[in-house]
Amino acid sequence: MISAHFITVEADDSHSLNVLVDGMHCPSCVAVIEGALKKNAAITIARLNLSTKRLRIVWNGAVGLGDDWIALINAMGYRAMPFDPATAETAEKKDEKFLLRCLAVAGFASGNLMLFSVPLWSSDMAEMGNATRTLFHWVQAMIAIPAAVYCGIPFYRSAWKALRGFKTNMDVPISVAVILATLMSLFETITRGTHSYFDSVVMLLFFLLIGRYLEARARGRARSAAHDLLQMMTGFSTVLRTDGTRETIPLSEITEGMTLLVAAGEKIGADGVVLLGSSDIDTSLITGETMPCAVSVGAALFAGTINIAAPITMRVTKAGERSLLSEIITLMESAEQAQAKYVTIADKISGWYTPAVHALAAATFAGWMIWGHTEWQVALLYAATVLIITCPCALGLAVPVVQVLASGKLMRSGILLKSGSALERLATITHAVFDKTGTLTLGKPELLHKGTYAAVDFQLAASLAAQSKHPLSQAICAAYVGPLLPLVVHEVQGCGLETEGVKLGKRSWATNLPDDGENIMELWLAVDGKAPARFTFADQLRADATAIITRLQAAGITTLLLSGDREEITRETAINTGLNQYEGALSPVQKTEKIAALKASGAQVLMVGDGLNDAPSLASATISMSPASAMDITQNAADIVFQGDKLQPVLTAWATAKFSQTLVKQNFALAILYNVIAIPLAVAGMVTPLIAAIAMSSSSLLVIGNAMRLNAMKEAK
């Protein structure tokens, strides 16, 4: 029923379903999920793509089985959401594939052109003969012209778009040079001339496409953010009608005032209030907090959170577009659009580079016509060589090559860069904003004072806790080493665990002690006739949090803590880590506003966060980082994702970004220096195809060599 909308009937009457699987942490999860599905005889194909987290299931038999497969995956602890593959194939994905195809064609063409260029360069007229040379030129034309037409499309398109808006970008001089050089070489070939620049044209496109493709791939991973988030909103909910009948309807058909029945383990479909029953709600999606929160009659519920304990009845107050989750999505999308307006250093340079180069080419043409008294064809040839030689090959490689090397280096230390301009933006930061739970802390409660508990109590508590999924129970089990007692345990929702004469749970439930108002995570173990024992927990700070924050402050970066958690807990964390400023009890919207206000005052903000509540702030910050333990969606919203239990990656990434920017600037300087040498030669009409090819390759190699220095960079301490 739930997945019926997404099931398609295959040619051989079998059914297929596409599912997005959230919560995979390692490659063996693929084996576990596929293995579990394949045990079922009805399933013929179950294939999970590790990169895209998309699972395709094909089976023989009833349509309704689709629900069973999803339930099966959910029961294993993953979150499965059916989706429509047609809507998943985005325009960006198609563009990326097209770039790869262009790259393949350019690679093939430039390789084959070299086959003819080397003999042309290495022999003179007497050796080769006019006829052979013209034959070679014609063969080159046959390879190069289709290649230039096809592989140049990404550049022509972008240049045309810029020109139509009366703007210019790096693609304008590239397109003009490619078109002019191709036409001029064709003219030379037809007139049996000596020089053709076909090889330079295609080589240029090949080099530039490499950079372009790598950039597109990094961007593509970041783009799926909003899309995956929307998948959270698909699904179904059970409605209780006024006449007492129940009905399952899609989430999109829920309206205000409806009464919904939410079973244990089900997702809450809309914002609302509890009418009947009490339960624990996993709000990690909205608040990023690990502890489930207890709700009872009258409490507010939010779409996207999960009811984990007992069935409840709720009334819808805000449906669909107006729910908090939708609000977060809207915020994120608008923030991402604003981010796209960021002007990269390459675009800034091309702003003055393009007019300068074109003016120079025009001057060359005019100069040769007026003072050189040459034929117009020759003057045009010299003007075109100016364009080819100044063609921003080194300039075009200056940024991507540093980005690719830096991202490779960072990836080896567990830091994943997802956006092309991430390093550039990271190098400019003046403020660093941190989230608390899961970012500065590990996001998991840990048992405190391990050695101080009586062995009998500890064993008993661990034996009870072993049968619960509650984070505090799991913390006890994780800390306990030794044999467990076989117990029949009963879980009391929102209170704790119980077995004959023993209770483990909340203070008010397990003991008669009054609430001392202390703000600490605790569990009480009460055995009949004995004084209750107390277990305390804390969400531990990442081991190096204080050190890293001190280092950032020493580098002149203002550090802030913005948390959705209570004011006093936030203050404590801020004091412990030495953060300059803090603010607690913030909603996702308020967090985003704080960051927007900082940016409006001229600050460049780094946001480090992990909860879905952080997703809009991540997207609206200048640059964002998120730990790999964060939700998939949050990771998607972040520009940089880092692994491990330490905060060191924040410093490493920042230091690498700083160094990369130095290298980028040096590369631009090198590229401009090359132009200063090559342009006078071209203006003087002294450049031959061999010189053009050597100049282009050597300047590119120089730029790449300089970028390689990144690998020698030492780890930031």
Binding site: P27, G35, L50, S51, T52, A104, T132
Partner: protein, 49 residues
Amino acid sequence: MTILVYLIPIALTLGLAGLVAFFWAMRNEQFDDLDGAAHRVLRDDEDEL
């Protein structure tokens, strides 16, 4: 130099064959899940036992 009449087409055909093979692989989704395939090879196929 008449050998060029054979060699040039042969060289170009070989290059083209490579290009076509690459496009075929792309269309057949050979590059869609590079990480997954790398781990898949390490896994025992249970149902064959």
